[in-house]
Symmetry: C2
Subunit: 446 residues, 2 copies
């Protein structure tokens, strides 16, 4: 396929993609196929001679689509959201064309530097403490991981190296494997399976901290376990807090847990894969309070921030800790700028060596939606919508309310005021409000 044909086929594919997204609602969200359905639909071996492009395209509807679970159908409520937007898709096309493997600064400076700056932008959007940002001289900084699983694993490996370094500094005779055998990591009993997995990969014990009735880990629960383990001669070294558990979107109490981890010299990683995108809205940001005590923090922009998979964003306070997990520099990866403070070699921050130019997606999405547009997507409703609802509520004259502004959000403020108000009045009023809200939502353009 030469460039002339690519121009033609590429434009046809753009139309196919647009058609797919426009009509996705008409497809059955879950496929009606049995395991093994696909093998019988295509040949058993590769064709020796090239096929016609038209035949390949025809097979998308014949072979692929009948077996697709449509994650972007508005009727898809399974698992978790995975983000998709046109700006991100356009950026991905550019990423594919540039096709650089940005494992070091020199391997593609633009790829590395845009990532650092975009993670600073995003860090500011969620008001992360300054020491998580790279800036031009910072010790911290952000990185795009493929998935939250990798972010958790990286943080655990960094914590494991750090504790071994600390212990061996005082006791040079203690071997790594003896220390490993005593290490204990902790996470919520509601934490994602990838956290348990990180423990298995790293060869350390991972204990589950019991949660309260709201599925949230409280300080006391962790404290008890850590103290008991210390008395037994074990070495607590890592806690993975979850903000937004997979099962019920529960939040661990990091304001309590953070200082506890700091005092115990345990690494605190925060996994907010599922819920973290919401922190770009000031009204949700209080849920992140306590992040200042963390060593590392991660969420999946590819879940809820309109950036197509994969784009899991992670920040660390001390980049030396994460690089220290396993820095190695073979000669063929060395370059002149390696030792400069401005240069980031992201291969030391992640499990794989190779990496795509994923920050282009962030850049396109941030600029083409703007912070406001992204906040609207999280809120799934605008200030204007709330204002209209309040006008209707007040114009029907059944109940009366006034609004307030909270961190830039127009809030309908329901205060119980009269001496004579009883529970049944409140219930009736709430039913009235939800009726009017439903009416309003149904009038919106689809």
């Amino acid at each position: 396929m030469n460039t002339t044909e690519f121009r033609k086929r590429g434009k046809e594919m753009i139309d196919y993609v647009a058609d797919y997204i426009e009509t996705i609602e008409q497809r059955s969200v879950y496929p009606d196929v049995q395991p093994g359905y696909l093998r019988s639909l295509i040949p058993e071996e590769v064709p020796v001679e090239p096929e016609m492009y038209e035949d390949v395209v025809k097979d998308i509807e014949r072979v692929i689509m009948p077996g697709v679970t449509h994650w972007h159908s508005p009727f898809f409520y399974a698992y978790f959201p995975t983000a998709s937007s046109f700006p991100a898709m356009l950026a991905d096309m550019l990423c594919g064309a540039i096709g650089c493997i940005g494992f070091s600064w020199a391997a593609s400076p633009a790829c590395t530097e845009l990532e650092t700056v975009m993670l600073d932008w995003l860090g500011k959007m969620i008001n992360l403490p300054e020491n998580f940002l790279a800036g031009t001289t910072g010790c911290g900084g952000g990185v795009i991981q493929g998935t939250a699983s990798e972010a958790t694993l990286m943080s655990l490996l960094a914590a494991r190296s750090r504790i071994v370094r600390w212990i061996q500094a005082d006791n040079p005779d203690r071997t790594e494997s003896e220390i490993f055998s005593k290490l204990v990591a902790y996470s919520s009993d509601q934490a994602h399976s990838s956290v348990e997995r990180a423990g298995l990969i790293g060869g350390v014990t991972m204990k589950k901290v019991p949660t309260d009735e709201k599925f949230s880990v409280q300080g006391e629960a962790l404290k008890k376990m850590v103290e008991r383990d210390r008395r037994a001669g074990l070495i607590p070294f890592y806690f993975c807090a979850t903000l937004g558990t997979t099962a019920s979107c529960a939040f661990d109490n990091i304001i309590e847990l953070g200082p506890l981890c700091n005092a115990a010299k345990m690494w605190m990683h925060i996994d907010a894969a599922y819920a973290g995108s919401a922190f770009i809205c000031p009204e949700f940001r209080p849920l992140l309070n306590g992040v200042e005590f963390a060593d590392s923090f991660n969420f999946n922009a590819h879940k809820w921030l309109l950036v197509n998979f994969d784009c899991s964003v992670m920040w660390v306070k001390e980049r030396a800790d994460i690089i220290g997990a396993f820095k190695m520099d073979p000669l063929y990866l060395k370059h002149d700028h390696q030792e400069s403070g401005l240069v980031t070699d992201y291969r030391h921050w992640q499990i794989p060596l190779g990496r795509r130019f994923r920050s282009l997606k962030l850049w396109f999405v941030f600029r083409l939606y703007g912070l406001r547009g992204l906040q609207d997507h999280i809120r799934k409703g605008s200030n204007e919508l709330n204002e209209t609802l309040l006008k209707r509520i007040n114009s029907t004259r059944k109940i009366h309310m006034v609004p307030c502004q909270l961190s830039g959000k127009f809030v309908l403020r329901f205060a119980v005021c009269a001496r004579t108000t009883e529970l049944h009045h409140v219930r009736e009023s709430w039913a009235h409000i939800t009726d009017l809200a439903s009416e309003l939502l149904q009038e919106l353009p689809h």
Copy 2:
């Protein structure tokens, strides 16, 4: 951005990509920028309101391109090749639009099944032993990993679990951490840095086996180390062979090493990341002889097989081994078909949970190039070209040669025949052949 605008912008992007590829030779292959160049070119914070698409596109040339190392420039000879082709880019667009996260069969049957079948196709293309293929009832099978680093790590973790299971079956009292502390893995002293890293992550000792004068590990070298370590009470459990080292493309002697590993009950993984694509040509396939002794095998289709990054293909003989490395099944990932033999849940085969629909790239590339087209790409020259060269050699009448066919390849056969032939004749003849070959290559359309 709605679908109407996406149709317009997408087609413009297709043209931009085509232009980029067509004119890439005119760009400086290595950027002339200093560390930190990008930060000063863009704002310090995200825009609050959406920007115009035109402004974002203008910034590609202003901000990004000056800092790009052009991996697809014909003047790029650094690091290693990374594949790129138009069919793969088209497939990636489709992958982005479908945007499924295929961690289990149910999460998108097409995504899972096409991957299994494409890895079978590719396995047959390189003539892998039958027990590496999935088929409909096989115990083995293939998977797409992001990078060879991940494939190596997965194989090491699978090997680590297997040896612990074996040892604990006979000695239930031995703890995992005691066993870990005695495990030894081995690889060539020429192996990629990611192999050493896999050892660090897995918390096991990784020893480097000295290579011979051709940078190749021979059986005797490994045997000595294994025997010495066993006598010292250690547990050799894993060897990573390299076919095509990064520095010099050296090949370990797997025909010797394989039986040795099998006899010692050590896992043999073969890392052919760099060179493996060549095995689709019958004339290179002998270099893979010995793969029948391996437990797992991997190469990077995204290096040399025209499939854009990331697409690192891996096969295992016993899928139970790799799944056993850390199988966990939380409730929200369960589905009806889970226990059927036909169903593959690839989340158990890899480090991340999420995964893209990468097999579409293989499918497009395989069909649109055909096996023949892919072989031509590896050979970077056709049988026809060789035939023409031979005709010219013989028509100049200075020397005389006859051809032969080896595994479908037209080979120019240079036999030293006459009693009177001396070294200077051979040198002169070789100079004559290379002159004619150079002339021929220069006449080719660019």
